[in-house]
Amino acid sequence: MTGYIIRRLLTFIPLLWAVATLTFFLMHAVPGGPFDAGDKALSPTTRAALNKKYGLDDSLPRQYFTFLGDLAHGDLGLSFQRARPVTDVLKDGLPTTAQLGICAFVFALVFGLTLGVVSAVNQNGVIDYISVLFATAGAAVPNFVIAVFLVLVFSLKFGWFDVIGWEFGNPRKMVLPSVALGLFPAAYIARITRASMLEVLRQDYVRTARAKGVTEFRLILRHVVRNALVPVLTVAGPIFATLITGSFVIERAFAIPGVGDAFVNAVFVRDYGIIMGTTLLFALIIAILNLVVDVAYGVVDPRIRF
């Protein structure tokens, strides 16, 4: 397995190079530049001075090789819109985004699993219908609508939570963004869990266990849920990767200073440095999590060999 992991890690180098190259040329192909998103148009003199200052008066291939050279030294360049090194922007925003993503993931996992299990053991009952309704609605309603709904009800109506900000350890600021971000994956996990549970519940060994007098509680928790979790594990990796790389909508809706908002905003304002930095970071995170999931398969299912 160690050899497999090393081989996979080595593939990250061409992967990141390909992502960097593609992103670099695509973003430069889009009309407008980092100084075209200001309050006013710039005079030619000012534009020339800015292009010189930031090396944008160099030819594109030269800019590309300069970028690659800097990247090799761990320098992601400067954010044009924030006048700060990109690495600083990422260092400041990533912990918040990751905290939000982890909380949303925990919520999605616990809530989704619970709902899926309850739904399966009550198939075609009222609880099942309610759970399925939730799972469908959760998957269909966009998270910005959910965010607005949660704010209107739980902040403005009941005053239980704050509308803005993120403070780790403060439930007033953590619950609504986490729920708004986690509801969609929770609905997804609930549907997967329910389907998987129903499948397992029909297996012979379940019937055998029941015939041997195992209590229903023990049967569900020890034999059914455990085996039904394998498909959930398959989707958990991509869900986790999606959540911890940030959400433009949720970060903006709750004024959370994460990198998700920075990334999308960077595209709108052509902040080349941030676009490159966040794209590479997200690519790296997703590649690592995919590797983790692949390795986890081998741990869960001994038939898989590397």
Partner: protein, 589 residues
């Protein structure tokens, strides 16, 4: 975005599986559901129920404030947007200048009536009889927030920095009348030795610790105002050692000359300001502390305001009707009496078919500005046909209604007189947002109904639009101008001169060029104003690339507890109501 797929579900009856322990199982699963609801606080937090005090719960210190009487003390939280640069000699963004103006101040400032007043200077500048030399005397014993002396050296360094090619300031052109400034600014490709020579030739010098002298190339009526603007604010030269050095990206590493100083900063999250006791203005700031909470989305900010987490926020004008009809917020919504911004139909008037003045007139006359404002823009703005705001030159906003205002019959006649084919192809390029789409739909319908023109609408994002505008690769766009300083000159100079650096609509009129040149050098206020009235008339009646539509107003939500902000709200507001006079903000009981 995740792609979802659901495994096939089982269809067997479950009755056989449900046995004796069902009630016990349901109980445990119910507990799990409760656990799920509490998952965030249990798994991610210490659930100590701690919460940040709402902004409204101020912690005023000192004596009990009385409404209407400025009283010292108190902390507030207001909405703002993350700054892009904290360097006043570089930036061009209103949001940046708003925040910088809370902590930095210049030799002069503009008061509520837009009149220049000394701030760090003792008196207004002494101008030589030929109008080319400005001598400025600064107050004695000025200090930066860290206690270091603020001298004429710092004031001179500011000009050296703004004119510096490495800094590449975005408002440096406003100082190009200073001897050597333009030459130095455009010397990026010269050797360091040549640049050094150009720096030494810059027409700004320190006379003594509290005096400096500035030499300009030509007399300019508005040069003194430039000394009150952000790009002229003194440089803390004991922190930024050389004028071309990088500006610290973390504002806590800086020192300040304004009413507040930076206490803490969290990128994209907040900036905390506390009173600067070394501020040399007429009085120290009343408030102890201001937290600027960065919120990009105005709907979120307005909800936070509703929830008492903020004492002031920009209003979301897309929901202006909702805010106005709210029993509470309707009373707390405010806007400056004067508007610093005009939006109009910008037409590329040196390329066919819009090089035809009659066609431009027809489009202007076919546009019902009053209905546009009332219906599409939620009655937020002031319909106008004057480009230069009326208050600057003493005219009314409808002064040119008869010639270029809404008049379907006149529009049809102008269109017929233009000789342009009825099936002329015109494209309006707009920003990708709801308001611009509504405006485009309105114009499309009106121009079709009145002139029979089938207007094409092209929707792009902001950088693409700006690129098209600067490259002059558009036909019609909706854009305008926001003033930098309250003088008619700022509305026309460089914008309507033939080949002007900001003239991207092909306006070229020799009479206009001549008048613009004369007005800029005219030091007589009366005749200068009259010249700008004439300039304004020429721009409007010839529709020299611009058909004004409306004066854009900005709305704010201001809690009645916060005094001084709305009271000082003028066309100088940079982002928040009265943010240029933040020392006047105070809390009432």
């Amino acid at each position: 975005m995740l792609t979802l797929s659901v495994p096939v579900e089982g269809t067997n009856t479950q009755e056989e599986y449900r046995a004796v322990s069902r009630s016990k199982l349901m109980f445990v699963l119910g507990l799990l559901a409760v656990f799920a609801a509490l998952a965030i606080s249990v798994a991610c937090g210490d659930d100590d129920n701690s919460s940040t005090p709402a902004a409204g719960n101020t912690t005023a210190s000192g004596t009990t404030p009385v409404a209407g009487t400025p009283t010292k003390g108190g902390e507030i939280t207001v909405q703002h947007r993350p700054f892009r640069s904290f360097d006043p000699h570089f930036t061009a963004f209103g949001r940046d200048i708003s925040q910088q103006g809370m902590v930095f101040r210049g030799l002069y400032k503009l008061d509520k009536e837009d009149k220049m007043q000394p701030e760090l200077a003792v008196e207004l500048p002494k101008i030589s009889t030929d109008g080319k030399t400005y001598t400025i005397k600064m107050k004695p014993n000025l200090k930066w927030s860290d206690g270091a002396a603020l001298t004429a050296k710092d004031a001179v360094a500011a000009f050296q920095r703004t004119c510096n090619p490495v800094v590449a300031g975005q408002y440096s052109a406003n100082l190009f009348n200073i001897v050597g400034c333009e030459e130095y600014y455009t010397s990026a490709k010269k050797t360091p030795a040549e640049q050094d020579t150009l720096l030494k030739a810059l027409g700004v010098r320190q006379l003594d610790d509290t005096s400096l002298e500035i030499k300009v190339k030509e007399p300019q009526a508005t040069f003194a105002i430039q000394l009150a603007l952000w790009f002229s604010w003194p440089l803390p030269s004991h922190v930024v050692k050389a004028p071309g050095d990088a500006w610290p990206t973390d504002p806590t590493q800086l020192v300040f000359s304004g009413p507040f100083k930076v206490q803490s900063y969290k990128d994209k999250d907040n900036l905390v300001l506390v009173r600067n006791d070394n501020y040399a203005g007429p009085h120290l700031a009343y408030l102890d502390k201001i937290t600027l909470k960065y919120i990009e989305d105005l709907e979120t900010a307005n909800n936070a305001y509703r929830n008492s987490e903020l004492l002031m926020s920009r209003a979301n004008q897309a929901n202006l009707d909702v805010l106005r009809s709210d029993p509470k917020l309707g009373k707390e919504i405010t806007s400056a009496a004067k508007s610093p911004s005009v939006q109009g139909l910008t037409m590329l008037s040196n390329v066919k078919p819009l090089d035809n003045a009659k066609l431009r007139a027809a489009l202007s006359q076919a546009t019902d500005r009053v209905t546009l404002n009332k219906v599409v823009l939620k009655d937020a703005n002031i319909p106008t046909t004057t480009w230069i705001p009326g208050d600057l030159i003493g005219v009314k906003s409808d002064v040119f209604d008869k010639s270029i205002g809404y008049n379907p019959d006149a529009a049809k006649k102008s269109f017929a007189d233009s000789g342009v084919a009825k099936d002329v192809k015109l494209t309006l390029t707009i920003l990708d947002d709801a308001q611009n789409k509504d405006i485009a739909a309105f114009l499309k319908e009106q121009w079709n109904k009145t002139l029979g023109i089938d207007l094409q609408v092209e929707i792009v994002d902001s950088p693409t639009l700006q690129k098209k505008y600067e490259d002059e690769k558009y036909q019609i766009i909706i854009q305008g101008w926001t003033q930098d300083y309250p003088d008619a000159e700022n509305w026309v100079d460089g914008l309507f001169n033939t080949g002007g650096p900001n003239n991207h609509y092909g306006c070229s009129d020799s009479k206009l060029d001549d008048l613009l040149k004369k007005a800029k050098a005219n030091l007589n206020e009366e005749s200068r104003k009259a010249q700008y009235v004439d300039i304004n008339k020429l721009i409007a009646e010839n529709i020299c690339g611009m058909a004004p539509l409306y004066q854009q107003r900005i709305f704010y939500l201001v809690n009645p507890k916060l005094k001084g902000a709305a009271d000082f709200s003028t066309s100088q507001d940079r982002y928040l109501a009265g943010d240029w006079a933040v020392e006047e903000w105070y809390l009432a009981k």
